[in-house]
Structures are given as C-alpha cells and as structure tokens.
Amino acid sequence: MSQLFLEQLLNGVQLGMFLFLVSAGLTLVFGFMNIINLAHGSLFMIGAYAMALIGGVTGSFLAALVLSVPVVACAAWVIEIVIIRRLHARDHLDQVLATFALILFINEGTTMLFGRVPLFLDVPESLSGTVTLPGGVTYPLYRVAIIGAGLAVALALWLIIARTRVGMQIRAGTTNRETVEQLGVNIDRLNTLIFVVGAMFAGLAGALAGPLTSVEVGMGENLLILCFVCVVIGGIGSIRGAMLGAITVGVVDTMGRAFVPDILGRFLDPATASGISAGLSSMSIYLLMVVVLVFRPTGLFPVARSV
C-alpha cells in the first residue's frame, strides 16, 4: 500500500511539474501582458512534435531536447509578432477568439504535416532504468529526471524574477504597466521576451512529455485547460501560485484516479462505484477550483494590480 501510495504521489508531483512548466508561461503572459493565450497549449504540442522529428533524424535524445526548445522559441516569436502584439489593446474576448482560431490553424497544419496517427517516442537508454528511493520505493529514473528538471526551471525562474533587473521590471510591469513604460523600459521588447521564454518552458515540457505520452494533435489543449485551473487556483500572474496550483492539481488528479475507486468500493457495489468514481476523479480538480474561487475569487496568491 505505501509503495503504491508513494508511487502515485510521485506521479502526481511529476504531472505537477509538466503543469508548472506550461502554467508558468501562461501566468507570466497573462500577468504581465494581460493577454489570455489559448494557443499556449499548441506550443507544448510543437515542442513534442519537434522532439519526435529531430529525435527521429538524429537518433539522439539530448540533441533533440536541446534543439526542439529553440524551434518552439522561433514559432513563439513569429506568433508574438504577427498576432499577439495586436491583441494588447483588445479585450479578453478578442484574445480568446484570436488564439482559439490560432489553435485551429496550428492543429490542422500539424495534422497535414504528420497525419492523425499518434507518434510514440522511447525513453532514452541512459534514463530508462529505475532508481531506489530512500524507504525502498523503486521509481522510473526518467520521471525522477522530469521532477528534477521542473524544480531546476522553477528555481531559475524564481532567481530571475526575484533577483535580476529584468525580473524587477517584470514584477513592476505586472503591477503597473504604464508607469514602467514612462520610466523608459522598452515594454514591447520585454513583452516579446516574456512570451518567448514562456513558450520555451511549454516547449520543454512538450519535448519531455514525448516519451511518456503519445504525441498527437490536441495533446496541448487537454493540458492547457488543466493549466488554466492551476493558474486560477494560484492567482493569475503569480509564479509561486502557479507552482502551488500545479502541484495541487497534479497530485489531486493522480491520487483521485488511483484511489477514489477503492475508497468508494468499500461503501458501494463495484459497478456503481466504478461509474461514479470515474466521473468524480475527472471532475475533482474542477471541483477544487470552484471551491477555491468561491472563497478566494482571485486565487490563493493574488498579484497586486493597479488596474
């Protein structure tokens, strides 16, 4: 039981790391640029496809990982210049629609290039074993590596935001954009930077997710909606909130799927229990979000805004 419990807990944390990598960009773009970007999930997908393509050509996991992130960055750069830049002064409705349309375009384009058949990637040999964690629990090395990568990115991001000049400008810009602009900061350049960096995190998550899930069209959107939940629970614009939200959602979702059927099975007959628990576990995170928003309508770590 405790082996299973720990394993599922780690799976939850690992899912949380993916969610964090995608949510971080989402929350930065929303917090700083005040733009809601539905196509952020597409960048995750582009990362996964780039990984599959480059990995197939070069045969090297590391090369594919290192090269797929810049591919996503380029895609994001183009998207920012062509579309996102024009959405700054628009309301959220326009942003939702334009980025929704962008999803249609990217998904259909990807289908044309790669077809509808999902691609499957292998875990690289050097990361394919298991490790024995303290306490005697064995766990796949690749998933440990993902957790490590997520933590490293979180740490780097925190250092940049909290300790550097650019980070200071980002924090200030989130609170009051006009004032920062008046003080001589090139907001347009900062916007592009934030969008591209956020996209790189999403792309990195996509590339890392390749060997764990099937790479297919639409993989980004499913994750994106989960990330919205993370961002909203944490408070839009807050990196700390995104981290907390991502880990919570990851753990609740994974644990719900793993243990709710068992627990309900003790009280109800098996057929009813499996029916209810399937619904309950996929609904659990949305219920969580509703509860948080009812008590804290702006999330757990709301960011101060002047508007």
Partner: protein, 332 residues
C-alpha cells in the same frame, strides 16, 4: 431609417426561412432541410450566448454545457422509455410534453448553480471558471457509462412524440424548430429593449456605477445567465431530437468556442448577427472544402480549418462588427 431598414431585413429573413422547405423540395434538394434545421437549432444557442456576451458583457466559455444538459435530458428519458427501466423511481418518457419542459427546467437549474458560483468572479476569471464548469459537465457525461459514456447513445425510439404533430416528418420538425426559434428570438428582442435590457447594458459599461445607484448587478447577471442557459438547453433538446443521438461531444469546449465564433462572425450585441453568423459558419463548414477543391487546393479541402483559422483571426482583428456591420454600416 435604420430601424425600418432593419425591420424589413428581419421580415425578409423570416419569410425566407418560412418558404425554405418548399424551395428545397421544389429544387430537388430536400436533403438540405436537415441542414436548415441544424441552422435554426444552433441559431437559438447562438442568440442565447449573444445575450451574455453582447448585452451583459459576460464572456462565457462554457455555454455548450447547457446544450448537453438539454440534450441528455431528452436522451436519458428516451433511453429509459426504450429499456422500460426507471431512473430513481421515475419512468422514461417519449412525450415531448414531458421531455421538453423537463429539459428547460434542468438547464435552468444547471445555469442557476453554475451562474451563482461563476458570477462571483469577473473578467478573465469568469472566462476560466465557465470553461471549467463546461469541462466538468463534459467529464460527467463521459462518465455516464450506462448512457454510452464517451461514445454517446442513439435514441432508438426516434424523436419525441407530440399530439397533432409528427416530429419524425422532417418538414414538420423543421417548422417545429423554427417556431421555437422565432419565439425565443422575439423574447430576446423584447428582453433587451426592456428596462432589464438597459440594466444589462449598464452592467456591461460599468458594474460598480450601477451598484452605487442601488441596482443589484449580481442578481441581474444571474437572471440573464439562467435565461441564456435555458436558451442553450432548448437548442440541446431540439438537437438531440434532430439527430436522434446524444454524446458528450456536444459539450466539448471547442463547441463553446464555435458558439463564440458564430456570435463574433455575425456581430455581437445585435441578436440578428449571431443568426447570420450561424448561417455563415454552417455554410463555410459545408462549402469551404468544396470551394478549396474548386480552386485546385485539394489538400486543403479536408483541412479547411487551416484556412478558416486565419480568416477568423482577420475578422477578430479588423472586422469586429461582423456580418451585421457589413449589412447595416453605421453612417456616423
């Protein structure tokens, strides 16, 4: 001037919709009656969403959920009538006099609960929480194994029954849906011109100012949210009857996105616009592949969304008034 122009246009549209089945039958393309029915049904949902987006400024990204509530009410009642089983002690029913009112009541209830919770938030939080509620209902329907789960279920007993009217006849069914559409459209037109409509317009402009003159904005928003939910539930119930098939796909979040697209394409805050938008959307869906093939772009015809996406982006960026703005350009 503009007003009479507007009225004449609407009467013209209504006349066209009334004679449409005869024209289609006369020209030997009566298979298009089904497409026309779909148009009328989805126009109801689009108009109801326009009440929220265009009039109250509430960007709801989970409107398709109520389509699902209406459709599943009809579907589940039909399922139990076919199996001759009961649900929590109640028998199923095929009667439209039972199924339709129940579908409307349940979608009102669902909208009341969702609205009461979501309307505590504003702006982008509202967009995201309605999206989440939509997903929640989507997964709820997916988890209903008894009713087909992921795949949905066929209504083996056919459409609902009504005294005097045979809904299984496609022309009668078209007129039945058209009647509901006209009724709902007329109601919405009346609503937005009433005092309540002015309250909504004021909420859209500045909610805090409204609160400060003693009008309860939350309550007004909840009312319009429930009305819109009932409209979508009606469309869902009619859609289930039309296709004799119910599935979670009806409540997928992209369906909510499609509804928003339709409202914007047509021109939001006009009621007529979303109807035109629905028309254009279904037309594009049917004919854009053919047009693309005609242009020698055979590859794109299957992937028409590849072309539709950029068109939509251009509309959002440069033609916000939509089709309505093209037909009735402002002269000021």
């Amino acid at each position: 001037m503009r007003y009479t122009h507007h009225l004449r246009f609407m009467l013209g549209c209504l006349a066209a919709l009334l004679i449409l089945p005869f024209v289609l039958q006369a020209t030997g393309s009566s298979y298009l009656i089904s497409t026309a029915t779909r148009l009328v049904v989805f126009a109801i949902a689009a108009v109801s969403l326009d009440l929220l987006i265009g009039y109250a400024g509430l960007v709801s990204f989970g409107h398709a959920a109520f389509l699902g509530v209406g459709a599943y009410t009809v579907g589940i009642l039909s399922f139990h009538a076919y199996e001759e089983t009961t649900l929590i002690g109640l028998p199923g029913s095929l009667s439209g006099l039972v199924a339709l009112p129940l579908a409307l009541a349940l979608s009102a209830l669902a909208a009341l609960v969702v609205g009461a919770l979501s309307l505590r938030t504003r702006g982008v939080y509202f967009i995201m929480i309605t999206l989440s509620f939509g997903q929640m209902l989507f997964f709820l329907f997916v988890s209903l194994e008894q009713y087909g789960g992921d795949d949905g279920m066929m209504m083996f007993e056919g459409r609902n029954t009504l005294p005097l009217l045979d809904l299984n006849d496609r022309v009668s069914f078209y007129y039945f849906c058209l009647a509901w559409f006209v009724l709902f459209f007329w109601f919405c037109t009346w609503l937005v011109r009433s005092k309540f409509g002015r309250t909504l317009a004021a909420i859209k402009q500045n909610q805090d100012r409204l609160s400060s003159i003693g009008i309860n904005a939350y309550w007004a928003k909840l009312q319009v949210f429930v009305i819109a939910g009932v409209g979508a539930g009606l469309a869902g119930a009619l859609s289930a009857n039309h296709t004799e098939f119910v599935s979670p796909a009806l409540t997928h979040w992209t369906r909510s996105g499609d509804l928003m697209i339709v409202v914007i394409l047509g021109g939001m805050g006009t009621l007529v616009g979303p109807v035109l938008g629905t028309f254009l959307f279904l037309l594009l869906e049917e004919f854009l592949p053919l047009i693309l093939r005609g242009l020698g772009l055979g590859l794109l015809s299957e992937h028409w969304r590849f072309v539709f996406g950029p068109i939509l982006i251009l509309v959002v960026l440069y033609a916000k008034t939509g089709l309505y703005g093209l037909i009735f350009p402002r002269r000021d």
